[in-house]
């Protein structure tokens, strides 16, 4: 292997690793620097061709957008004293000055996408979790960093 080719290939490998990091940056940042919050979750469903079975999650405690305006959206979070779970109060277009809040993208209708809508599992695991979700026995543990990036960490039985 000649030296210049080896350097070029090494640079290409580093570029690829950096691109992977960029591709998963919001979830990586939330996991490394975020704080844990618990949300109520419900099942929605399915399969990604490249990544296999997952459970599509809905969050009854987060608001649904009806504005008809597509774009970035932020959802400030408050703790519900009765259930000890976190809820979204409203959807706003400007980033809040202080947290905790979720940074999302909205199509203008339906639930905004905040990066916590799917949980990848084995096919068997996905089936079991879907059953538990239908029985309303599960809450989602989500890490949220200071910029509102969120990553789902696990589901726990309530």
């Amino acid at each position: 292997m000649n030296r210049s080719r080896a350097i070029l290939v090494a640079v290409a490998v580093v570029v690829q690793v950096l691109l992977v990091v960029v591709g998963v940056a919001p979830q990586l940042s939330a996991r490394l620097t975020g704080t844990e919050y618990r949300f109520a979750v419900g099942p929605v469903d399915p399969i990604d061709p490249f990544r296999g079975a997952y459970v599509q999650l809905g969050y009854p405690g987060l608001p649904v957008d009806e504005s008809g305006i597509e774009g970035d959206a932020y959802i400030p979070l408050t703790r519900d004293g009765a259930t000890d779970l976190w809820r979204g109060t409203a959807i706003q277009r400007l980033r809040p000055d202080r947290g905790p809040f979720l940074a999302c993208h909205t199509e203008g209708y339906g639930p905004p996408r905040c990066g916590i809508e799917s949980l990848f599992l084995s096919e068997e695991g996905a089936r079991q979790v879907a059953d538990e979700l239908r029985a309303n026995r599960v809450v989602a543990v989500v890490r949220v960093d200071s910029r509102g990036n969120a990553a789902i960490v696990r589901l726990v039985t309530s």
Binding site: V9, G23, E123
Partner: protein
């Protein structure tokens, strides 16, 4: 081989070669066929291993922790990269196979990382990350296999991204044709300046995207876009920049191809801007009919141009692509035009005649286009 045997017989009759030389030429091609089989087996093997690896990621083996899985997939990817470089001076075929595995394994790394960190499902940027990374690897190693992976994944990401962002068939069509212009210009630069083997895949993807984009433009349901998004301006700027470079640096044939794709792009954008609005009445208005006729003429001319380009570059895949696109286009348009007018047996009879005429023209066109190159 039948073609070669026929040619060799004719050359012997004409006294161009003697019997001994003819036998040696035939023997060389028999050995070449053996190599082609080896290449095919290695290519298929590498593709299967790469796809198997991505499939393994998709099965989400929960017996292993997410960290173990990402470390394992990364180790396979880096091993393929290193093995390819170690083999680089020993076996070109084995190196190509290892590079193809490395390019596909890079995708497995991207998807495993996303899996381990629970990145939401159906995120198009993951495909874009894979394509961009493999493109960097391609130009570092000069591997044609990785280039094909990069082009296929990059095209998939682009179509997905544009479709998701705009949701407007007219803008999707325009974006595809602009991407085609970029691909064709890159092919022209490669053909004349640097890494000639890279020209063919870029040219093929340019033709494919242009024909798919024009196909959408020719559909009568395409509406005029309300506004031009930033994404399209970026495409216009990129196509202009790389097209200008190809015109300045490319050879004569390359410049012709760039000018032709420039004309196709201009025609596409004009057809989209001119798209007559449907007044809501039944049937086509005169303006819509003229639009459909012009769009059809542009499509047929473009497909014929790519067929001519394929003959000039002796590229049978591009020839199959352009003639196949023409047949699909005629089929869809025939149904769109004749189905509302005719029914039952009459429809089948008319369509049968249209398809027979198309098939005859395609076969005749292919023969005429391929004849000059085979005589050279």
């Amino acid at each position: 081989m039948a073609w070669l045997q026929r040619e060799l017989r004719q050359w012997q009759e004409e006294g161009v070669v003697d019997a001994l030389l003819a036998e040696r030429i035939a023997g060389r091609y028999a050995a070449g066929r053996g190599m082609a089989l080896g290449r095919l087996a290695l290519g298929l093997g590498a593709t299967f291993v790469g796809i198997g690896l991505i499939w393994l990621v998709a099965t989400n083996l929960d017996q292993l922790s997410p960290l173990t899985r990402i470390v394992g997939v990364t180790a396979v990817w880096l091993s393929a990269v290193v093995i390819a470089e170690v083999l680089a001076h020993r076996s070109a075929l084995a190196t190509a196979a290892a590079r193809l595995i490395a390019a596909l394994a890079a995708g497995a790394v991207v998807f495993q990382a996303a899996q381990s960190l629970q990145v939401p499902a159906y995120t198009p940027s993951l495909l874009g990350v894979w394509a961009a990374g493999v493109l960097a690897y391609t130009y570092a190693t000069s591997g044609v296999g990785p280039l094909i992976v990069a082009i296929v994944t990059g095209t998939g990401w682009y179509a997905w991204y544009v479709g998701e962002r705009t949701g407007d068939p007219a803008l999707i069509a325009a974006s595809l044709v602009l991407a085609a212009a970029v691909g064709t210009a890159i092919a022209a630069l490669h053909e004349s300046r640097w890494r000639r083997p890279f020209a063919r895949p870029w040219r093929q993807v340019g033709a494919l995207l242009a024909l798919v984009g024009l196909f959408l433009v020719a559909l009568p349901s395409t509406d005029r876009p309300q506004s031009i998004p930033l994404l399209l301006w970026v495409g216009i700027a990129a196509a202009g920049l790389i097209g200008g470079l190809a015109l300045a640096l490319g050879d004569r044939q390359g410049r012709h191809e760039v000018l032709a794709i420039g004309a196709v792009t201009a025609a596409t954008l004009s057809l989209l801007a001119w798209s007559p609005v449907d007044p809501g009445q039944s049937g086509l208005t005169a303006m819509q009919l003229i639009h459909a006729v012009v769009a059809t003429a542009v499509y047929v001319l473009t497909a014929a141009w790519f067929a001519a380009v394929s003959a000039l570059h002796d590229d049978p895949h591009l020839m199959t692509l352009s003639t196949g696109a023409l047949v699909v286009f005629v089929t869809v348009q025939s149904f769109a035009i004749f189905a509302p007018l005719l029914s039952g047996a009459a429809l089948f009879l008319v369509l049968g005649v249209v398809f027979l005429a198309t098939g005859g023209l395609v076969i005749r066109g292919r023969r005429r286009l391929m004849a000059p190159t085979s005589e050279v």
